[in-house]
Amino acid sequence: MTCTAEDLVRALRAVAAAVADHRAELTELDRVIGDADHGENLRRGFLAVVTKVDSADLDTPTAVLKAVGTTLISTVGGASGPLYGTAFLRAANAVTEKSEVDGPAAAEALRAALGGVVARGRAEIGDKTMVDALSPAVDAAVAAAEAGGDVAAVLAAAAEAADRGAESTTPLVARKGRASYLGERSAGHLDPGARSTALILRALASSAGAR
């Protein structure tokens, strides 16, 4: 099984729905160690993404991903906007010239996305950011692809690892982003960006698995 531009658009609608459903949860996580806007930022961004991909005529995965990236950058704001935006732009680059994304390409796209987040945000694993969810997700995706997994399998593995990665941020002291201002007081709370990364990957995986 692979993933076409059309599949991707469907998956993005699922992501937007998931983000909207979890808006209050993300906001609450961000309220505790940040500034309470992460849920609203992503809701606004993915609403714009859905409007964008529904209205534009995007017939390749790269075109869809690029539209997602630019839309997120121009609508989300905050730290997560440029980070997620860059992630999608890099993923778009990773799948140029493909009309369908297969397992290995999906893993490659995720690796590129992580590269974009790190290039922009310079966070390392353990800094209590979305990198703590995305980085293990990439490893799991690569392993699944190497094991011959299709897109659904690769994304499922990534989502699974991202969930665990997000959970792992709870005890950490933040060293990047707004939560770092809290110092030791940031420990004991889940990172909102790590949680949203896990949510997004889970929605992508479910959408792929449902086909």
Partner: protein, 333 residues
């Protein structure tokens, strides 16, 4: 949540409409992407000063657009940095072929979004420089944090560099001056109450009736420490000590003292606190030569205050005194 709004998602757009109506003589508001520009921009041959950040800190930044201060301000959603396309559009609208200086408060979101905008504008051939202001001594500045936040010092920087740009300083000079302000300005804030972000609907944190938060940020984020409420003398002493000992400011220094309300603190309390700060600085032999007192860098309806000290020299003093004509600061013209 009790607010005079219609819908959390349209608060900023509607407020900008009111700002435009109120100050049409000084500024113009562009709606999509949203930015506030000086009415007479672009000014040929003048360095353009562009800033921005999350909304909810008014009058920062839109209230400082005008002669002798900002050429444009980009308001994000409440407490959320603006997006690169806002900044890029503002830069393109106000640059006068003498380059653009972006004034960015040090928050990951602001830095990343302005950085992206700077890349986009540079690609259009505009000479864009960025200065990041990080004056909040509440945050430990180390490789293990996102660094110090930009707070009250931002107003002083925008005023002083705005005056330099107005008198015709070139981009290099404006950039160097901005870095000089950053190097000489420090702030520390505190809160008695939290604020409520419209789309959240409840306070960002809670403080008991006998508690206050020291080292508060301006985004409703918690501060450095929660301590028992104290009389004004104790509160102001904490702020003065935190600020003075950081740079440090020493006996004989000439300074500008900026006593800022977080929004909900009444002027009668703010002036009282200002009086205490003047006394404590005098005791240390620090000479307050200029003052600014009022709600200039706010956090919605939060009750609390911050103190900012800027070490002055003759040039900074002259630029501070230079004419300014904006909605929120106005003198000499």
């Amino acid at each position: 949540m009790k607010k005079i709004i219609n819908d959390p998602s349209t608060v900023v757009a509607e407020a900008l409409r009111g700002l435009a109506a109120a100050h049409g003589d000084l500024l113009r508001v562009h709606e999509d992407p949203a930015y506030v520009a000086r009415a007479d921009a672009p000014r040929r041959g003048k360095v353009a000063l562009v800033s921005g950040g999350g909304s909810g800190h008014e009058p920062l930044h839109g209230g400082f657009v005008g002669l002798g201060m900002l050429d444009a301000a980009c308001p994000g959603a409440v407490f959320t940095s603006p997006t690169p396309d806002q900044v890029q559009a503002a830069v393109e609208a106000v640059h006068g072929d003498a380059g653009v200086l972006l004034v960015v408060k040090n928050y990951t979101g602001d830095v990343l979004n302005f950085e992206t905008a700077a890349e986009l504008a540079s690609a259009e051939g505009i000479d864009v420089r960025t200065v990041v202001i990080d004056d909040d001594v509440a945050v430990k500045d180390s490789t293990y944090t996102a660094g110090r936040r930009g707070v009250g010092g931002t107003v002083l920087l925008e005023k002083i560099v705005g005056a330099a740009a107005e008198r015709g300083d070139d981009l290099d000079a404006c950039e160097a001056l901005a870095r000089r302000v950053v190097a000489n300005v420090r702030s520390l804030g505190m809160a008695l109450t939290a604020c409520t972000v419209p789309h959240v609907g409840e306070p960002t944190f809670t403080l008991a009736e006998d508690e206050m938060e020291i080292g508060i940020g301006i985004h409703g984020e918690p501060g450095r420490a929660r301590v028992p409420l104290e009389p004004a003398d104790g509160i102001v002493r904490r702020l003065v000590e935190g600020v003075v000992e950081d740079l440090p400011f020493v006996e004989g220094d000439r300074v500008l003292l900026f006593t800022n309300s977080m929004g909900g603190t009444p002027l009668v309390e703010l002036y009282l606190a200002h009086g205490v700060a003047e006394r404590l600085l005098a005791e240390r032999g620090i000479r307050v030569e200029r003052r600014l007192v009022g709600p200039y860098v706010t956090s919605l309806e939060m009750q609390g205050m911050s103190l900012t000290l800027l070490r002055l020299d003759d040039e900074l003093t002259e630029l501070w005194d230079a004419p300014v004509r904006t909605p929120a600061l106005r003198w000499g013209v």
